[in-house]
């Protein structure tokens, strides 16, 4: 009995091993997979959910097919946050990049949301294909190009061990956004400036850039100070600022932060102690160009706040952009989140590259070919307007929209250039 059982088991084991080996060989097929890696959790979910929705929308508009129906397109929104940290987790992002590297059907990796996360995944994906990465949101300049005083000396080469560039982004970098904010402040007649940052890569990066170009433009920077994004209020900080300009208030406050880092509370306490936004200007980057700021601070308090964001003023937006907002509203409800349109165009660029590879008679499952095609994108008719990627992978969209909050929503103030 025992012997027979043993023989039977061994036969079964060998048979299934053989089966498995056969099965392992097959696989792949006519599927092109695109994944996104964004922190889908509490603090960032407001923005990342709109990015995912927009990407989903773009794939659905393509009918889920590529290259005239030859390939099936699938999109998977991955999450790089963990419950234990409550925000993006370096370990999860690394694992996502490794997972994408190992799955041969993945041809594009859309992400990340946080620049710190991109620094981990770029080198991994760079050595596997390279697999192209398109970020809708990273603004740290060092990922793509050197900027004096803002990047480390070995950036960006240290992220590209294979020597080939594989990272492009639709978001404008801090070293462009800073001068735009300063140009705006010069136009507003600002002479003295107090800079606050949320101590994170994005917020501090854009604040550093503003600091640098404000000094160049002749604006006196009284101080740049990091605040604790978890504090209950900032009344003491604002009281200190209220006498920081030789006993008086500064002309303007620049807030380098995303809205989730307590930006609304900063704004409230600023208005309560320093006065309204007419008296002391309040300027911020695209991280606060969102309805969430107005919702958090209240329309009265937020009245008059300025924020810069890459792109054109709503009135100048082309047909494609208007259509995007209409389509998005029809499927997911209305949005004015600046990241939504960037998510849409990142996916658009990825799909364009795939189509280009097919049109040139190439194989869209070849990662290197897709990567090359992404960098070859020129004069792309996206929802943001007509734009290209330069050789560093940065978007060439020389326009920035400046919005001012009026009556409870952002109104176009004008289009600025760096």
């Amino acid at each position: 009995m025992n012997k027979r059982l043993f023989v039977l088991l061994s036969v079964l084991v060998i048979a299934s091993m053989a089966l498995a080996a056969c099965a392992g060989g097959g696989g792949g097929g006519a599927t092109l997979k695109i994944v996104s890696s964004l922190p889908m959790t509490g603090a960032s979910l407001t923005q990342t959910q709109t990015i995912v929705n927009a990407m989903q929308l773009r794939v659905e508009q393509a009918g889920g097919k590529a290259c005239g129906g030859k390939y099936t397109l699938t999109y998977e929104p991955w999450d790089d946050a963990s419950a234990a940290l409550g925000k993006w987790d370096p370990a999860v992002e690394t694992e996502n990049a490794n997972k994408a590297a190992a799955d041969k059907s993945i041809v594009a990796y859309l992400g990340t949301f946080n620049s710190g996360a991109a620094k981990l995944s770029i080198p991994i994906l760079n050595q596997s294909g390279p697999l192209v990465m398109i970020s809708p949101a990273n603004t740290a300049p060092g990922l793509t190009h050197a900027a004096a005083g803002l990047t480390d000396p070995d950036e960006p080469t240290k992220y590209y061990p294979s020597g080939v560039r594989n990272y492009a982004r639709v978001a404008a970098t801090d070293d462009f956004q800073g001068p735009v904010a300063v140009n705006l402040m010069v136009a507003l007649g600002v002479k003295t400036l107090y800079i606050l940052d949320d101590q994170e890569v994005y917020g501090k990066g854009v604040a550093d850039s503003v600091n640098q170009s404000a000094v160049k433009a002749g604006i006196t920077v009284i101080a740049q100070e990091g605040f604790d994004p978890k504090a209950a209020d900032y009344k003491a900080l604002m009281t200190k600022i209220s006498t920081s300009n030789d006993g008086g208030v500064p002309d303007a406050i620049f807030l380098g932060a995303i809205v989730d880092n307590n930006a609304a509370q900063i704004l409230k306490d600023k208005v309560a102690i320093l006065g309204d936004n007419e008296k002391v200007k309040f300027v911020g980057p695209d991280g606060i160009y969102t309805a969430a700021l107005i919702e958090g601070a209240g329309a009265d308090v937020a009245e008059g706040v300025f924020a810069t964001t890459p792109g054109l003023a709503f009135k100048d937006i082309g047909e494609a952009g208007k259509k995007f907002y209409a389509d998005y509203a029809a499927k997911f409800g209305e949005t004015k989140e600046p990241y939504a349109i960037m998510g849409y165009d990142s996916m658009g660029a990825a799909l364009k590259a795939i189509e280009d590879v097919c049109a040139a008679g190439g194989d869209p499952t070849d990662r290197a070919a897709v990567n090359k095609a992404v960098f070859a994108i020129k004069d792309f008719e996206g929802a943001l307007g007509t734009w290209s990627f330069d050789e560093n992978g940065d978007i060439t969209l020389p326009y920035f929209l400046v919005g001012q909050i009026k009556g409870g929503s952002y109104a176009d103030y004008g289009t600025f250039t760096p």
């Binding site: 979910l45 407001t46 900032y234 200190k240 107005i294 919702e295 958090g296 308090v301």
Partner: protein
């Protein structure tokens, strides 16, 4: 020989400490010459930071009162307490919204609305806290000492998530319907509006010419914290239930033998603690004008620290601890650098506990197993 050494030991240590502070302090923004100069330049600002610190401390203190009661009686760090406070903020906001108070300009109507919101927030906070006790702590009463701590952490995650979902419901929390529950929500400045509409200036010292800002909101939170503390002290000292609580806190088994219904006493403690958290939620909403699903985490941590700093189970101590934390944070924000505030607050707390190992007002009971 030994006595000479001892005689000089303290001054030498003091000098070395001062030298080290001067040497290393500036790294962490503790630059004494700079601080001295800015105080000399604008001395009245010192008073302003005092007011801000007291008002912020008052909110921490109110949460800490509930914390310390629960803590004193079952020696459990109720991690979910801060999140009950957060639910209090949202309860108040929702009540104010549903009663139409948020949009009202009539001072009487605003006043009534706030009172209704207070009652609802207290009831919801109390119920939630008692429910948490029933579900997560009572079954673990005979488990190892640290087991309920994990349950408490789990409850904290759960309640936080409830807040996140709540904040996303646009029919409960006024919003534009596009931002979801993760975003901060406005808690309108009803007290100032009420005062303005009664033709009074909400800034009480505006006409004094001192250049100080002391609003009706500051006054209200500080007074309320004081009243609650005194009320709670009287309650614990003089009522039957209060005495039962003290007895239970001292020795649960003995209290049981004396015929005290332990389960009821503990439930009552959680009800009171939760009610205080709910009230603190309304106050914080009116004071900081902000509602956020994540606000309970830091508030809980600070108020727990305040409770322990004051001496576990000591009501006056919790109050003192809360004010101390508020003041430290305000002075650090004002004279050091906001970047380092959290580190300085905790560094001071650590120092205080090193010199008073049982908290500011804790009894030196010797060893407690």
């Amino acid at each position: 020989m030994k006595s000479t050494l001892q005689k000089f030991a303290r001054p030498i240590i003091a000098i070395i400490t001062i030298y080290l502070v001067l040497l290393l302090g500036p790294i962490a923004a503790l630059d004494i010459p700079v601080i001295a100069a800015s105080i000399a330049k604008n001395p009245s600002q010192l008073l302003q930071f005092l007011i801000i610190g007291l008002a912020n401390g008052a909110i921490i203190a109110i949460i800490a009162l509930g914390y310390t009661m629960v803590y004193g009686i079952i020696e459990l760090i109720n991690f979910a307490h801060g999140d009950v406070y957060m639910i209090g903020v949202f309860t108040a906001l929702t009540t104010l919204s549903l009663t139409g108070t948020l949009k009202s300009q009539d001072p009487v109507r605003i006043g009534i609305g706030i009172v209704i919101a207070l009652v609802v927030a207290v009831v919801v906070g109390a119920t939630l806290n008692a429910t948490i006790e029933r579900l997560a702590y009572r079954p673990l009463r005979n488990a190892p000492r640290l087991a309920p701590l994990i349950s408490a952490i789990g409850m904290s995650f759960i309640v936080e998530n409830i807040g996140l979902i709540w904040a996303g419901q646009s029919w409960l929390v006024p919003s534009f319907g596009t931002t979801g529950g993760g975003a901060q929500k406005e808690f309108p400045d009803l007290l100032s509006r009420m005062f303005v509409n009664m033709n009074m200036n909400p800034d009480l010292l505006a006409s004094s010419g001192l250049g100080l800002r002391f609003t009706i909101k500051d006054l209200l939170v500080i007074v309320l914290a004081g009243v609650l503390m005194i009320g709670l002290r009287q309650f614990v000292q003089h009522t039957k239930l209060g005495k039962a609580m003290r007895a239970t806190a001292q020795n649960r088994d003995a209290a049981k033998m004396l015929g005290i219904d332990i389960d009821w006493v503990i439930t009552a403690t959680f009800l009171i603690g939760g009610g205080l958290a709910g009230a603190a939620g309304l106050m914080a909403g009116l004071y900081n004008n902000n509602a956020w699903w994540f606000m309970g985490f830091r508030a809980g941590l600070q108020s727990f620290t305040a409770a322990v700093l004051g001496g576990i189970g000591n009501i006056t101590g919790a109050m003192l601890g809360g004010f101390l934390i508020g003041l430290l944070a305000a002075f650090s924000d004002g004279y050091l650098n906001a970047r380092w505030t959290n580190a300085w607050v905790f560094a001071t707390l650590v120092l205080i506990l090193l010199f008073r190992p049982n908290g500011l007002l804790g009894e030196q009971t010797g060893q407690k197993a």
